[in-house]
């Protein structure tokens, strides 16, 4: 098995606080892998390392067998909530990555136009982020990440700020777009059902420090309609993941209560 994204033995501490402990997993080409974990599982640190803006204490990350050195256009990011630039129009936001990389040529401009069409925002190129809905903004976010034509698409809780209905629509949209372009995707989420619905495989993390508790293959046929969420198989997967992280979630809630207690 050749891995598109290979993460091995990743560890990191900040002072005395151990954040990540021996994180290893691989993502194959065109595979969609979801990471699920309770708060405190070190996902932010993991993400920053994959982005190349944080260096690990041990272990490493490679894409297509090449070890990462700093940020690069081989990775595209879709962030949680609003990471669009409010002073840039939809179009200017979409081409941000190309602009930073100094690769804004006519071919890529044309491709970005196609991408905006793919996410259904062709008519909104001249709009500012505060003029469009949350769901539309996350579509722009997706187009911006895809515009640099990355080898791996990394999505950090992209739908967490959306209302439940919009979230379901966006999950379907992501499936459609992913099936058309077949990118390699790493999808980080708190929603267990979102992970089961989208992923080929789920990496379940434990907390304090973050470690790989288990990896679960999701054998649900594709394409998956929304109705798959009501099947017993789907429910069984959700239960399995929930059972794995339940203790951790209670522990993190308890910790929050203690931390905020007067």
């Amino acid at each position: 098995m050749t891995a598109k994204l290979d993460i091995w033995g990743l560890s990191k501490s900040f002072g005395d606080l151990e954040v990540l402990k021996d994180i290893s997993f691989k993502i194959k080409d065109q595979e969609l892998v979801a990471i699920v974990g309770p708060s405190g599982c070190g996902k932010t640190t993991l993400l920053r390392m994959i982005a190349g803006i944080e260096t690990p204490d041990g272990g490493g990350i490679s894409i297509d067998g090449k070890a990462l050195k700093g940020p690069g256009p081989d990775r595209g990011f879709v962030f949680q909530q609003d990471s669009l630039f409010p002073w840039r129009t939809v179009w200017q936001n979409a081409v941000l990555g190309l602009e930073i990389d100094g690769k804004l040529d006519s071919e890529r401009v044309a491709r970005t136009r196609e991408l905006l069409k793919l996410v259904g925002l062709s008519k909104f190129e001249k709009y500012y982020p505060n003029q469009i809905s949350g769901g539309m903004r996350q579509r722009v976010n997706l187009a911006r990440a895809l515009a640099i034509d990355p080898k791996v698409l990394i999505m950090d809780e992209p739908f967490s700020a959306l209302d439940a209905q919009t979230r379901e629509i966006m999950q379907l949209e992501l499936m459609r777009i992913w099936q058309e372009g077949r990118k390699t995707v790493l999808f980080i989420t708190h929603q267990i059902d979102e992970a089961v619905f989208l992923a080929d495989r789920i990496v379940v993390l434990g907390r304090r420090p973050g470690w790989v508790r288990e990896t679960i293959d999701i054998d649900l046929p594709r394409p998956r309609p929304l109705s798959v969420k009501r099947t017993p198989e789907f429910g069984a997967y959700v239960d399995r993941v929930w059972n794995l992280i339940e203790r951790d979630v209670y522990a993190s809630v308890q910790e929050d209560i203690e931390a905020t207690a007067p």
């Binding site: 803006i53 940020p71 962030f79 609003d82 630039f85 409010p86 002073w87 930073i100 990389d101 003029q131």
Partner: protein, 269 residues
């Protein structure tokens, strides 16, 4: 979507000259001036206690025709313009330093907050003593009055930049310079323009007060002359010019805001 189109519609309605709303300000100004004129002619009668708008216009015409007004405006304009330009550039530089370097922040912070709160026009006589009676003393007074709001706003603007946006830019491989030009600066622009607005107001006061303390020309000089001679129409000419200049500059900055911050204009409706 409906929000967007509603916003556009209300803007059009406000701008249409067939609506009473459009004329409200103009009617208010005309009515006010008319009441002032009538009060001066029929109630107070003595020009020393209440000069009338018509007398001010006549006096302004006299000064314009003799070329004096142009001369005074020129001197004050140079002093104000030069001082403001220096204050803006210097303020942005120091604000940037304080936002990016914690030692600079610690070292300069107390001075900036103390001097921002001090009405530094009060030391104008000292500055005139040091730098002479000509334009440079006034330029300095304008700078020390206008630079502090610029510093404070620049620093606040750069600091308030959304961390998430910086992080996003860095994930896309932005260099430090690109982070500055593409994230920090655009994000701080509303603060910078607010700083300029404050600097303009303070600078206008500074130039006039400094000229009052000692000068050979300028609007403040004209004010001092009028006051010494109890020439109230002349006094009001200077005041009127200051009021109009203040309004014009505020309008200009409003225009700059619409130009530099189109996303804000569209959100504000």
């Amino acid at each position: 979507m409906s929000e967007v189109s509603a916003g556009v519609r209300s803007k059009k309605a406000a701008a249409s000259w067939t609506r009473p709303l459009f004329w409200t300000s103009a009617v208010s100004i005309v009515a006010g001036l008319l009441m002032w004129e009538l009060a001066g002619r029929f109630i107070v009668k003595k020009a020393l206690f209440l000069t009338t708008p018509s007398q001010i216009v006549v006096e302004m015409w006299r000064l314009t025709a003799s070329g004096q007004l142009k001369q005074h405006l020129y001197v004050s304009g140079i002093e104000f313009g030069t001082g403001l330009a220096i204050a803006i550039v210097l303020g942005i530089a120091i604000g940037f330093l304080m936002a990016t370097n914690k030692y600079a922040k610690r070292a300069l912070g107390p001075w900036v907050s103390a001097l921002y709160a001090t009405p530094t026009v009060a030391i104008s006589p000292l500055i005139i003593l040091w730098a002479g009676i000509d334009i440079w003393s006034k330029v300095i007074v304008v700078v020390i009055n206008s630079v502090f709001p610029m510093i404070i706003n620049t620093e606040a603007g750069l600091r308030s930049t959304d961390r998430q946006l910086i992080e996003a830019a860095r994930c896309f491989g932005a260099s430090r310079l690109q982070v500055f030009w593409k994230v920090l600066l655009p994000s701080a622009t509303p603060f910078l323009l607010a700083g300029v607005k404050l600097a303009v107001g303070r600078g206008l006061v500074a130039v006039v007060v400094a000229e009052l303390f000692g000068s050979r020309a300028g609007l403040g000089f004209l004010l001092a002359q009028a006051s010494d001679a109890f020439n109230m129409p002349l006094l009001f000419v200077s005041v009127t010019i200051l009021a109009v200049t203040g309004m014009a500059l505020t309008g200009l900055i409003g225009g700059l805001e619409r130009y530099f911050l189109p996303w804000r204009a569209k959100a504000g409706e």
